[in-house]
Amino acid sequence: MTTATATTAETVEELARTVVRERPPATTPTAELMGAWYDAGLAWVHFPRGLGGLEAPRMLQTAANRVLKEAGGPEPRTVNIIGYGIVAGTIVRYAPPELAARLLRPLATGEELWCQLFSEPGAGSDLAGLATRAVRDGDDWVVTGQKVWNSLAHLARWGILLARTDPDVPKHKGLTYFLVDMQSPGVEVRPLRQITGRAQFNEVFLEGVRIPDAMRLGDVGAGWAVSLSTLSDERVGLGDRVPARGAGSIGEALALWAARPDRQTPVLRDRLARLWLRSESHRLTVERAKVAAGHGVFGPEAAITKLVASELNQQVYEFCQELLGLEGTLYESYTSVLEDDDSPTPYQRKFLRSRAATIEGGTSEIQRNIVAERVLRLPADLRNDKNVPWRDVPRS
């Protein structure tokens, strides 16, 4: 780590410029470009050298990515959204170096996509109550269970998996964290269609899937702690990119308003101005939190951001729907099942999609609990599943 303090924004930028000079993004295949990016230590500048990093301060990542972007390269996380967003950090913290080296480069290049296998039909808000079983058999674990809300599972080569290895201890203590090869026998991925008609997620069925013990991260029974490290990475940087005034959903509502003078009324004008004001005060709040923290907003404060943003998103598209009037009763098509986020999304689809905003990534009910208990330090809910073997906790 002696070199870490020596790495400055200038050195990082210079390294980045070298990569894009040698492999112009416009003419280089993404995998090759991102491979060079990884090899230069620019994938995660704060990671160890040899594992895609430079042992540099994390905040220098922004400078590197800016160079890549300005040269016409991709935003790295879009290459492997779950891999970059939540998997890499856990691998570097918990996997042995050889395993990490084997996994991180194809993760960084996008050649091996990742997915997350945490939630289950019976374990949503109560993730730690999950039921997928992993039983030791020689050098392997044999896993059986069902996971849900797994985006990209149909494309992913690898999955991060949380499974129950000991049902006889309290729920948080009997979980273990694995990396599962999605091409293993017994893994079945089924698309999960939603309200919009699209399938943004999958269900994953695991039937006697064998995972070598070498693909376990952290100790047996220590899976919850490992998963918290994953989930914490998920929250980091929520406030990193504060949008500009009038961007996002409220911007779309303003555009629709301007485009529909025939539908304007004083009452709708008052409502839209109130929505704009709430979006803007929320945006200012994120900006203020960022200044106060000196960087991105994460931890319990991020729960406020998620809570407010998701509810505003819903209200804004409800407003749009009302502004559309009868036009809002029509729909593009329910026959196209696959998610295709490149096509311009009509208001009606966003309206439907917004219903998920207050559920996915933790329901608003859970967010309010987090805000109250972890920001305001209010007492926890009375519980009956603490210090009770998971086996004995009442379940649906």
Partner: protein
């Protein structure tokens, strides 16, 4: 079957049971899903059984025209149950719009000719005109009628026609030199072009109709047309309100069931106050919608309240309640709530659609304000 307001007689209860059982047996969720994906979007045979076997498609129609003469409250009960089961069928075009328009006409011959087929479920009707804002907006008429060869020819396009692709009978308000009169187009003339539209609510179809020198017969003159359409719009608003009550009640029931049986953290999620209290608010919303919807039905049936006020009250309260309850149902079901497999989204889409069809809440609130606030003298 009539009684004083809110006195749901035993006969009404039996009627409700009859329709509910029929829907449970003949139109359970899987049938709804198959039907909504079919080309026609509804099952003509099922519709005919409702009209002919059960006889519940013309309860507010006089016996002389094949109806049950049982009053609007009885018809509302039927529509509530059809809405609860999301039965795919021309409820809006035929039952809520075409039948009330025809009933309100003065011409006996037209009623005698056309109502029985609609009431029996053999034929589908609709209206292609500016009624979807909840009142008859003469300025919004987009079809023109000209006299030719002793008959009338219609020209113009009308969007958002409920059940417009399936209708055997299309009522068309059209501009004549003397004002707006009402015309009837029958069958499937080539001059009537229909473009089916993909609707947000998969269980209820719309089409765009284009009339190109389409032959039509006049059925109401320039004086009667506005009045007939206005009256039908009120009946339609009340029936749609009853449908909304039916859907909202189902969403409440499913949510309570889910919250009682779904365990997280070792307890049913319904024991968490955040869930429990939202269910209580859903109940309040459903009950207020029911009150307003049936007050509307009784008022139009028995004249116990200003029909314009009662209709707007019914539609405004039921719209808000249904949307609120269906949205809460999705939320309280968690991920299941917005999945394609679970039916909450079908109800939510119906709720979102019903909320703007026949007048948005804001429009009805404006009408209520005109009647209650603007007209009121100072005390």
């Amino acid at each position: 079957m009539n009684g004083r307001e809110f006195d749901f007689t035993e006969e009404l209860g039996e009627l409700r049971t009859l329709v509910r059982q029929f829907c449970e047996e003949q139109s359970p969720e899987d049938v709804v899903r198959t039907t909504m994906d079919s080309e026609a979007g509804f099952d003509p045979a099922l519709w005919r059984r409702l009209g002919t076997d059960l006889g519940v498609l013309g309860l507010h129609v006089p016996e002389a025209y094949g109806g049950g003469d049982a009053g609007l409250v009885a018809q509302a009960v039927v529509v509530e149950e059809l809405g609860a089961a999301l039965v795919c069928g021309p409820v809006l075009g035929t039952l809520a719009l075409a039948v009330p328009v025809l009933c309100a006409l003065s011409r006996e011959d037209v009623k005698e000719t056309h109502l029985p087929g609609l009431v029996s479920g053999d034929r589908v009707g609709t209206i292609a005109g500016p009624l979807l804002q909840g009142t008859f907006d003469a300025a919004g008429v987009t079809v023109t009628a000209v006299e030719a060869d002793g008959g009338w020819r219609l020209n113009g396009a009308v969007g958002h026609v409920p059940d417009g692709a399936a209708a055997d009978l299309v009522l068309v308000p059209a501009r004549t030199p003397a004002g707006t009169a009402l015309f009837l187009v029958e069958g499937a003339p080539a001059q009537l072009r229909r473009t089916p539209l993909t609707t947000l609510d998969q269980t209820r179809r719309q089409a765009e109709l284009e009339l190109v020198d389409c032959p039509a017969v006049q059925i109401a003159d320039e004086t009667e047309t506005a009045q007939v359409c206005e009256q039908a719009a009120r009946v339609a608003a009340v029936l749609l309100a009853a449908e909304q009550v039916g859907g909202a009640q189902v969403m409440l029931g499913r949510t309570v069931e889910h919250a009682s049986g779904r365990y997280q953290f070792g307890v049913p999620i319904g024991s968490f106050q955040a869930v429990k209290h939202r269910c209580a608010d859903m109940l309040v919303a459903v009950e207020q919608a029911r009150s307003a919807a049936y007050h509307g039905a009784w008022s139009l049936q028995d004249g116990t309240d200003d029909p314009a006020l009662a209709a707007s009250m019914a539609k405004a309260v039921a719209s808000d309640s249904y949307v609120k309850v269906a949205a809460a149902a999705i939320q309280l079901h968690g991920g299941t709530g917005f999945s394609w497999e679970y039916p909450a989204h079908l109800y939510f889409k119906r709720a979102a659609t019903d909320a703007v069809v026949l007048g948005s809440t804001e429009q009805h609130i404006d009408r209520i304000a005109a009647l209650v606030l603007d007209a009121a003298p100072g005390r």
